[in-house]
Every structure is written in C-alpha cells, then in structure tokens.
C-alpha cells in the first residue's frame, strides 16, 4: 500500500465513498442487513463534509426524505435490502414521474419476505424494473467488485442527475460485505455530473419544460426563488396536474425516451474472452466473479467459453445481448435467483442461440464449479 490510494475496503464502504465523491450531501434510511453499513458509515462521514444524515422511522420515510432533500438541492441517497426495497416502491414511482434525481441502493439478500437476511441473493433484479405500479423509466447498475461499487455509485449519481430520475444500485451481500483491494482514483480520473439548473433571474420557470436540444427539464431547488409546484399526478410542463390524455401520453412518452434515446450512454458492460467463444456466460454482480473463474477453468480445459457481464442491468442491453446471442451457440445465464434476467435474455436471444440458466437461490453464492459443470452440460 505504498500508493496511499490503495486500500482494503468493504463494498458497502466503497458505496459511501463513491457517493461522497459524487457529491452526496444527504442520506436518509433505515437499518437493514446487509445494507446497514452504508447508513452507519454515512452517519459518520456526512456531517464532516457539511452533509446531513437522517435515520428515519422506516424505509418509506427514508426515501421520501431523500426525494425532499434532492428537490431542495442536495445530491441524495438511500440504501436498503429486500424488505425495505419493497417498501420503497411507491416512492420510486414518485421520483420517476416527478423526475427527482436520487440513488437507491439495494444490497440484495435472500428472499422472498424476511427469507435469509444474512445470505446473498440476486432476487430483486426484476423488482428493480417492475416493483412500482405503472410504467416508468429505470436505470439499475450492478457492481462485481469493491472498486466497481465505488465507480458505479458515482455513475448512479451521474445518471440520476443527468436524466433526473431515481437510479438503483443493485449490489448483493457478497459484494457489500467483502473487503478487497481498491485503488481510489484521483479527482481528475472521475467525471462528476450535476443537474442542469435554470439560469437565475428567470421571469417564468416551467419546471417540466424541455426545450429543443435538452435532455430533461432544468431543475431548480426549493428556496432559490422559483416558486414551482411538484406533484406525483400526471402534470403538464408547468408542473400542475392535468387529466388531459394528450398531456398524460406525452409525459409518459418523454419519461421513457430519456432512456430509449440515450441507451448508449447508459450501457455499461464487460466482455471477457468472448471473441471466439462458443458458449457465453452472462452474469452480473458477485455471480460474475464465479463466472469469470469458470471461464478461466473452462479455457484451461480447452473449452471456448467467454463471459458477458452487464454492469447496467436496466435498461436491458438489448443490442449487446442480441450480438452475444448471434455470436455464441450457447448462452448460460448464471444468477442467484430462480431465473429472472434470463427471461430478458431469452426474449432477445432465443432466435439465435440456445439459452439456458445456471441458477441457485439457497443463500449461497454460485460456485465456479457449478458454472463449469453447466458449461459442460450444454
């Protein structure tokens, strides 16, 4: 550790460090294993940088306060695990329709319900996209290492601010609790994106007006002199509610297009030994680490195997995964659930490749051996 930027760090700690680097100045949450360290470390670190930490009465209040603080100008985050993630769903929809940037961390544990509180899982993948009622845009990222937890937390804030929406970081108990080497990048290696604010002194500020060439509406903060209105009802560009079906249609359309039109910007992934691969494993989060080991083991045995590792879980990497399917004969989706992401892979890929899954949802990380066995089976 000659280089002072090299540290041994826990995944949950890296999440907080990444958030602080991205500019987080507000955290509100409620303790729950295995995400609790994120709250604990935030409570310790935030006041030192003039930020605010709040332990609320429950997870719902946690995300609600997070959204309120973001509207008041602070980059804000909340963190939880399964049961808390379920409770936060209604508010995720609110942040989506009202376009309030915030980061929601879910350190996944064994479900359903209280399930296996201290064991890892990747059972909330589909929930991240579909957990709240109604259609809405979703960005969810999943890191495979402590360093990547740091990086993707920053990305999560950046996307949140850039696209004015809640962004989810889906990690899991393995990544959240393990400690490993991390080299903290220097400031100039890191891109930080802030929300676009209206020029001050505007006569009239329409909080939901998007002008030619703009990605999202400019976002003022409460208290800055723009006395604007925010609601979770369908609203027009002035921010006030409307029942007009055109207004409703256009609003939803615009919300979804923030993603659809910028999909490349949001597509993060890694390809590993994929070029000549006949079998490609698709895996994310901690499972991708097992998958990488499995690929190496398979290659040692002369099997042509590669790994496609999405870091962006949502939006689904349609293009890349279609390409992967076209390239490979077999695709194996390895995930710590009973088959979630694999459904989407099938949707885009089953025209082109034979798709199977290597799934486990018993509280244990899938092992390289299990994946290797599956590789040999297909």
């Amino acid at each position: 550790m000659e280089n002072k930027n090299i540290k041994l760090m826990q995944g949950n700690e890296a999440c907080v460090e990444g958030a602080l680097t991205a500019g987080m100045r507000f955290f509100a949450g409620y303790p729950i294993t295995p995400s609790t360290e994120i709250a604990e470390i935030s409570s310790l670190r935030l006041p030192k940088v003039g930020g605010k930490f709040l332990q609320m009465e429950d997870e719902i209040a946690g995300i609600a306060a997070t959204i309120g603080a973001s509207l008041t100008g602070l980059k804000s985050m909340t963190a939880t695990s399964g049961p808390g993630f379920s409770l936060k769903q209604e508010n995720i929809g609110y942040a989506s329709i009202a376009e309030i940037p915030c980061v929601i961390v879910n350190v996944q544990r064994g479900g359903p319900s209280t399930g296996l509180p201290t064991s890892p899982a990747q059972g909330d993948i589909m929930q991240a996209k579909w957990g709240t009622h109604g259609d809405h845009p979703v960005i969810a990222l999943s890191p495979s290492s402590v360093r990547e937890t740091f990086d993707l937390t920053i990305k999560a804030f950046n996307y949140a601010e850039k696209y004015r929406m809640p962004v989810m970081l889906l990690t899991d108990e393995v990544i959240g609790h393990m400690r490993e080497k991390i080299e903290i990048p220097t400031a100039d290696e890191i891109e930080i994106i802030d929300r676009v604010k209206p020029e001050s002194g505007l006569d009239k500020y329409n909080p939901y007006e998007v002008n030619e060439g703009e990605l999202v509406p400019k976002m003022a903060s409460y208290g800055e002199g723009y006395r604007f209105h925010v609601t979770g009802l369908v609203h027009d560009e002035t921010g006030f509610p409307s029942n007009d079906s055109n207004v409703a249609g256009n609003l939803l359309d615009r919300l979804m297009k923030k993603i659809d039109n910028n999909i490349e910007d949001i597509s993060l992934y890694e390809e590993y030994r994929i070029d000549d691969a006949e079998t490609i494993i698709i895996a994310y989060g901690s499972t991708a680490r097992s998958a990488k080991s499995a690929v190496d083991m398979a290659r040692e045995e002369g099997l042509k195997v590669g790994l496609f590792r999405p870091m962006t879980i949502w939006p689904f990497l349609d293009k890349q995964i279609t390409d992967v399917a076209k390239k490979a004969d077999n695709i194996i989706v390895a995930e710590m659930n009973l088959g979630q992401y694999v459904n989407e892979v099938e949707r885009v890929g089953n025209k082109y490749a034979n798709i199977s899954k290597c799934c486990k949802a018993n509280g244990e990380l899938i092992t390289p051996d299990e994946i290797l066995a599956k590789i040999k089976e297909v």
């Binding site: 507000f26 509100a28 006041p47 030192k48 003039g50 605010k52 709040l54 609320m56 009465e57 429950d58 719902i60 209040a61 609600a64 306060a65 997070t66 959204i67 309120g68 603080a69 973001s70 509207l71 008041t72 100008g73 602070l74 804000s76 209604e90 508010n91 609110y94 903060s221 409460y222 208290g223 800055e224 002199g225 723009y226 006395r227 604007f228 209105h229 925010v230 609601t231 979770g232 009802l233 006030f240 509610p241």
Partner: protein, 273 residues
Amino acid sequence: MASALVENHFRSNKLPHIWCPGCGHGIIMRSIVEAIDELGYNKDDVCVVSGIGCSSRAPGYMDYNTLHTLHGRALAYATGVKMANPKLKVIVITGDGDCAAIGGNHLIHAARRNIDITTVVFNNNIYGMTGGQYSPTTPTGEKGTTAPFGNIDKNFDLCNLAKAAGATYVARATAYHANMITKLVKAGMENKGFSFVEAVSVCPTYYGRKNKKGDAVQMMRYLKDSSVNVKAAKKLPKEKLEGKFFIGEFHKVEEPEYTEQYQKIIDSFQKER
C-alpha cells in the same frame, strides 16, 4: 379579480379551486396565507408540502415552493426539505386521513424529533377525496361509506397525540374561527420546533350528507356553537362544556430543535479543521 391577499399569495390563475361549494378547506387555506402575509415572510422562503386528499390539493394554489407528495408522506418529504435547507419555512398541509391514518407514523416521529415544521391538519373527520369513508377522527357512532352501521372506532384526539409524541406547539381552531387559525399558525411558525395546528374543517358533500349535518352553513354554525376556548373553559361550569370541544393553544414548550442540533454536529467538525 381578487383581494390583494389572494392576488399576492395565490396562483390565482388556478382559482377557483376544485373544492366543493362550502368546503371548509378554502377558508383554512386562506387563513394560513394570511398568517404568512402577516409574518412578512419572503414567499421564496416558504415551502408548503402536502400528501394526498382534498386538503392536500391546497399547495397547488399557493404561490410558494410547493410539493404535493404521496398519501401520508408529506411530513417525511418535508423533513428532507427542511434538513436540506433549514432556512426554509416549512409548512405541511394534510388531511385527517393523510396525517392520522396512513401518515400517523410520520406525524409522531416528526413531532418526536421536534423538527421545525408547522403542520396544519384540515380535519373534516372523513376521507373527502375518495368519497366519504370514515377516518381516524370520525366520531364514534357516525357514518361513513365504510361505516354504514356507524363507526365503532374510537377517534383520535390529534392534539393530544401530537403532544404525547413530542410536538412543542399544539393548538386547535376551526374553519369558523378563521382569524384564530391565522393566529395559531403564526405562533406555530414562530415556534422553533414542531408545531401542530388542528384546523377543524367541514365536508358538506360527504360527511355532512352521510350524517345529516345539514349544509355548509349549518356545519359552520355547529363549529361556532360547539367549540369552547380552552382559556374560557376553565371558568365555565361543567354543564356548559357538555358536547363541546376545545379550541385554542394547548401546549407550548421550548426544546432543542432538530436541524439546529444537527448543525452543531457539523459545526464541531468545522472548528476542528
């Protein structure tokens, strides 16, 4: 074409509001605005947060920073707003359902923290927005669309509850006592801490109709005739208090305010540097 107060403090292009004829909510909303006017706050510094309900539609008409959130969650959002910028004068407008049914937990916890938010409950003893179901403040025995045989629940005394939970200013007035609401809201806003003002409203459309309370005028008359100022109450004989409810200031204490306490932690590190 409205009074100077209305022109100054409302988004008058949004008026008239959606509330029914004779709904007490309009009176209370005006009284709040009057309080802000009298306090001379800069409108840019005022933030009004609400949940969901007829009452919670109020902020949409008020020319401040306004936030219409989710059913029951106004205080949780407001807590985030206030913590993020303690300079803001934060008011929460909520209904009896919003505040005391689904939002009850946020109420007691905001009160407990003594965070500097003034909460005004438009208590019409019913869920107005959804069409007249009984609420946690519907008096026992009265009817709602979900209490067709009379409500068997005991109703909350919201002021008592807020006090027990930790609010440092607690008071009640009614839509009839419009000036008193203004007075109490002013006192609440000036209290550095969590202030709770129950503003008894009327819902002629549902509560009135279901319970044969007559029209808006009769309901307003009831508010006038059945309320007794706590201060006066002490001097009155018991018989005179039967069937009456109290209005006025119930509780007022000074205690450390949440955002100030948090600032002290921040400051302790500033000094260290």
